[in-house]
Point group: C2
Chain length 123, copies 2
């Protein structure tokens, strides 16, 4: 099992960040990590937005987030503790993460509204 590696903040690229956050599962994971006050384990994301994610897939998603520089992961015994690196990233790319998370919220709110309309129409 290879050791966990994190890019130095100066090696973090916009492209990698955008790519990592262009996946709905990853952006949901990242949003939850960024909001959480304390580290979260991988397995707390086995269900994301009512969808079950296989463990192997989840492991890959965490690797993508980590290698993009978005999160920091530390092994503690049998589990992994993940935290967002948002403060560092915000220093390098001011406002980027905030704007993405904000856009994500706008879109989620809209989706919730649309699905309420739909269930009202059908029920």
């Amino acid at each position: 099992m290879r050791p966990l590696t994190h890019p130095s903040i100066d090696d973090v690229s916009v492209e990698a960040i955008l790519h990592a956050l262009s996946d709905p599962v990853r952006v949901a994971i990242y949003a939850e990590l960024a909001n959480a006050g304390c580290p979260q384990t991988c397995s707390s994301f086995l269900t994301v937005r009512d969808r079950d994610i296989p463990k192997s897939t989840l492991s890959q998603h965490f690797r993508v987030l980590r290698e993009a520089g978005l999160i920091r992961s530390e092994r503690h015994g049998v589990e992994m503790r993940n935290t967002s690196r948002c403060a560092e990233i915000d220093r390098r790319f001011p406002g980027l993460i905030d704007a993405i998370m904000n856009a994500h919220r706008v879109q989620s709110a809209e989706r919730a509204k649309a699905s309420r309309r739909k269930s009202a129409a059908s029920g």
Copy 2:
């Protein structure tokens, strides 16, 4: 040849925007379009950041940008005129495009600095 289609602004998703702009060629095209005061043709991007892009590849890149809702393309005779939809997007996702373009500028400036250092060291 199928007609050009543009998503309505309400159907534009954050994921599609981030995916479209996570490619270095596309983000360079988009940045130039957003800065340009007037529409630009596809062929003005046959060379991007000192790299030649095949016409067919370029055509796909423009399609991705268009379908993500980032640009508007209109055929005028033999050529296509492309403009950025940044004002519309900014209304839907405030600050998103600005933050991405700004991060992109930060990174380009850094790259330029690094390559100057390199050529000074070797020369």
